[in-house]
């Protein structure tokens, strides 16, 4: 099937692994997806050095020099004001001007979101953008059998209103439809009980409104225990709770790995047991491998922004580029707008 050509702007600077890893990811993407063009934004000399060492297609990569970047320890607002030529700002501007169709960055999340807010427009009906995150679940979903669910917001809007929660639900459902090819994603509100009356006032109000929203497969409230089970394909909450949930999920994963390492060292019998379970452990590892998903979207802007994990390596960056390209080719913004208009 012929794909529509798409250009993805990569903010090359600011990743935990340095610019070379982002360049390698874009280089990998240029070999794997002929319809995707990468626009690498950052220090030209650094990018050129990294590109010269990597297998890539020179026909599908271009470079935009940006003299500086925002470091992880800088305050986003101040840093963006002080550094108008920072790579993330330049990249967001290029996307806003139509030079590229989407932005991928593994840099400072706050600076990225702020740069997008300055250059992109919020969609009509969206008051606040939402940072979504994918997390591994037991069940698979959609045409692609994705072992991930989407949770939003995970930090962009700390105190969400009922209106915001409804908007997040529409945006999350549109994203799941496009990226996971899940035509009727199950959407749920996160609360402290499944009954419609459970939870703070804004959650109760959002529940009432989502229940009557046409085209939405709203399954009601879910509890924390349902998150890893994958009861819902899209879990909607405010940024404060979402962020706490996400960090806890990451903590559980890390603790399980540490416990397995402890068990491996502790006794021969435990080691033998772990060896027997190695197939299952590998499966869990595959499912929880966030690198295969690439990145998480910031939803609500008229342009697409995929936030890659700061620890992303080449494969995750290439996958983030593919996710961004798919969202751009399927006009994610327009789909969200249509959902909001209902």
């Amino acid at each position: 099937m012929a794909h529509k050509p798409v250009t993805i702007a990569f903010d090359v600077m600011g990743s935990d692994h340095g610019p070379a890893e982002i360049v390698r990811g874009a280089a990998q993407l240029s070999l794997e997806s002929p319809h995707i063009h990468a626009l690498l934004v950052g220090d030209r000399a650094v990018i050129d050095d990294a590109l010269a060492q990597a297998r890539h297609s020179g026909e599908r990569i271009s470079v935009q020099h940006a003299s500086t970047f925002i470091a992880m320890d800088e305050k986003p607002g101040e840093a963006l004001a002080k550094k108008p030529d920072a790579s993330v700002s330049v990249a967001a501007r290029l996307v806003a001007e139509g030079e590229a169709d989407a932005l991928v960055s593994a840099g400072h999340t706050g600076a990225c979101v702020l740069a997008c807010a300055r250059h992109f427009q919020l969609l009509p009906g969206v008051r606040r953008a939402a940072l979504a995150a994918v997390y591994p679940t037991r069940i698979r979903r959609g045409e692609k059998e994705d072992p991930f669910s989407l949770i939003l917001d995970v930090g962009a809007t700390v105190e969400a209103t009922a209106d915001d929660l409804v908007t997040f639900a529409v945006m999350g459902a549109a994203y799941a439809r496009i990226i996971s090819r899940n035509e009727q994603p199950k959407v749920a509100l996160l609360s402290n009980g499944t009954e419609p009356t459970k939870g703070p006032r804004h959650v109760v109000e959002a529940h009432a409104r989502l229940g009557g929203l046409p085209g939405m497969r709203f399954i009601g409230n879910v509890e924390g225990v349902d998150i890893p089970k994958g009861t819902a394909d899209v879990v909607v909450t405010d940024g404060y709770v979402g962020n706490v949930c996400l960090k806890m999920l990451e903590g559980v994963h890390e603790t399980v790995v540490e416990l397995a390492q402890y068990a491996h060292k502790e006794s021969l019998r435990w080691r033998a047991g772990l060896a027997m379970l190695s197939g299952g452990i590998q499966r869990i590892k595959d499912i929880t491998d966030w690198e295969q998903y690439g990145g998480a979207p910031v939803l609500g802007f008229d342009r697409i922004f995929i936030k890659a994990h700061g620890r992303s390596q080449a494969r995750a960056i290439a996958n983030a580029g593919k996710v961004a390209a798919k969202a751009a080719a399927n006009e994610l913004g327009k789909t969200i707008q249509q959902g909001l208009a209902r």
Partner: protein, 348 residues
Amino acid sequence: MSLPDRIDPPPPRRIYRWDLDKTYLQTEFDSFRDLLRTAFQKAHEKQAVPGASALIRELASAGDSRLCIVSGSPRQLRSVLEEKLKLDGVVWDEFVLKDNVGNLMRGRFRALRGQVGYKLPAILESRALAPVEAEEVLFGDDAEADAFIYSLYADMIAGRVDERVLGQILEQAAVYPDEAQRVLTAWKKIPVSDPVRRIFIHLDRLTPPAHFADYGPRVVPIFNYFQAALVLLADGHLTAPQVIKIAVEMVQTAGHNIITLSNSFQDLLRRGLPLQQAAAALVQALEGPNALLQALRPMPDILSAFTKRLAALGTQPPPPTVRAVDYLGLLHHALPRTHKGRKVAPPT
């Protein structure tokens, strides 16, 4: 060409030497199956690399050049290969193919995969018959040892390679004694001159360009023939309208578009090739009234794409440094790709 010219043609001013597989033809021979398919393909089934035939035709259009092809394909494929070249409108002056059956019958198995012992004497013998003032441009690919062989050839005829070093190279590249003798005999017949202007390496395997940095700026790795055309425009071998004709063929036949062409242009700029004047000439040619250019319309998009890619870089990168080639250090490049001593590019 006038009647006297046909009877006694003037000596060539330029010689273009081409490899065939993966340089002119999109050939796959990585597996036995690929080899078989290639062997039984008919002329019309063979695909040329986009822009290659247009480039050859444009280079030949001045009528003062020679096209010499030295290919590793077996002699048994001559008729089908010649038919393919004729179908593409390519006229050649020399066409050398490898005697693989002869090598097999004589038990010369190293010669089946080895390129140094085959190509180096063939191009030296061809040069021995060429006028001393004829400039050369060579075209190869990254699948075998073209960058090594062509650079060695250029430096040998320019007197920059020591006979002792050459002896070591031929020995370590496992060249048979009779082939080594042919190399020495042909080399001694060639007057010292420095005619090789460029060596283009088509990155069929997408080998990282830095892999060729040790050969200096004379070797230019290219992702497509639009890039070769741009460099040849800057070097004075082509005019801007000719480069546009090549781009048009690539757009019409191979799905290239304004993004791939402008990215290709910027890729060369980033590698320090001085192409600003070539870009200006292209812009001027694009502004002229030429029906052919309709294929590349809309014009403002083309001009702005090139201008943007140029401006995006900020200051122009410095040109790559000229250096003496350490052939003994690069000997692993001379070995067949499947040889265990050949270093491969790290996976990315």
